[in-house]
Symmetry: C2
Subunit: 240 residues, 2 copies
């Protein structure tokens, strides 16, 4: 059911070792790695426990931040293999290299999302805690009305704020701000003066940053997603 038209691969140079990765996946990627397959390899000399710890940390901030259509799958796999032929690596070194590789592959998946025309990073800051921020970001990224507005390059912050307000997290409209990249379109829950043409140009790009500050605390969370398009429907309405 998932089409995957592009090979996804990455090579990251560590300090005295190399990490390589390949992956597949284009939809059904939420919330935890679903319908994807990734294999990481390294020549670093590490034991299995260190490799496992590094992989878990790397996956949490990459594949587990993906959501294309909010749908999950019944199957997903991420494997890391180490040959031990190169230099020893510390947990920190290995985590850094694996994280870079996994983030790169996750971005490649979002860029290859079924029907997607742009990659959107949704970040929520100022939440009461990190879990609330992540829940808010995921709520936004999975909202069809928001995803359609990305497709149409429409800075529809009302839809964004509406999703934050219905996400089940601590929320106060009076302290919310919303920015698309450098363009702030909502401050304290009301429209902010902005250059309409510049915002439209920004939203017509292939890489969009949506930042929402709740103005309540220091909680922060982020997800990587894509827009909802005619192409997504074309790919998924047919007999499988």
């Amino acid at each position: 059911m998932t089409t995957d038209t592009h090979p996804k691969q990455v090579i990251v140079e560590g300090s005295g070792f190399v990490v390589g990765g390949i992956a597949k996946g284009a939809a059904m990627l939420a919330p935890n790695m679903a319908t994807m397959l990734a294999i990481l390899t390294t020549d670093a000399a590490v034991d299995a426990a260190v490799l496992q710890s590094a992989l878990r940390a790397a996956v949490d901030e990459s594949f587990n931040e993906l959501t294309i259509d909010g749908c999950t799958s019944t199957n997903d796999t991420v494997i890391a293999l180490a040959s031990g032929l190169a230099a020893p690596a510390t947990l920190e070194q290995l985590t850094a290299a694996l994280s870079e590789a996994c983030r790169d592959l996750a971005h490649q998946m979002a860029a290859d999302a079924e029907g997607g025309t742009k990659v959107v990073r949704v970040t929520v800051t100022g939440a009461t805690d990190d879990a609330s921020a992540t829940a808010g970001a995921r709520r936004i990224a999975d909202a069809n009305l928001v995803k359609c507005s990305w497709y149409g390059a429409d800075p529809n912050w009302g839809r964004v704020v509406s999703e934050l307000g219905s996400a089940g997290i601590t929320f106060d409209l009076a302290t919310v701000s919303v920015s698309y990249g450098p363009h702030t379109v909502c401050v304290n829950g009301t429209a902010a003066a902005h250059d309409v043409e510049a915002v439209a140009a920004y939203l017509s790009g292939k890489e969009i940053e949506l930042i929402c500050d709740l103005g309540l605390g220091s909680g922060r969370g982020s997800v990587l997603s894509a827009d909802l398009t005619h192409g997504y429907i074309d790919e998924n309405m047919g007999l499988s």
Copy 2:
């Protein structure tokens, strides 16, 4: 942001009284009446407390079972007004008439869903409890992959079962069955022999029943929804 191209109205004859209703709403209708407005009127002679109780019961099994795109709104209203000019009505009589009116209006909203080409009633039976059944039904109805398959008249029961399995409810693949109307396409978690052309013809209709039996208990829940189409994207990608 919500377009509403058709007036929605209903008249229900009670025993010695009449209930009339009008409503608007075409999207952002989940989970609790969001972005809708409905006004019910009756000439029944009832006091305010009875009218409130009857209305609450009627709304729970009509508007609160709607989900078009999983999105909610920040505003919704259902009001009932009674003139007292006709016969007295018991709570049961009034609830029955109001429920019929609200169900009718809710169905009209689903039929007018943004871009929707068909109304789909998703019912989950055999759950461990009613709340689990409703959660499962809502999960299915809000899944973009499932909604696209409805649009394409594709009896993709794998996507349906996948949503049930990731809904966070008690679930056993070995006891699940899935039927589209009279056509059973999955039994005990595997494909069931069915008449492909007859299923395709059924799914091409304007009214679809999707019934999933979890085979675990007596819990039952149901939601009313619509398919996800090119038209939905057309309506929601533009500048509002």
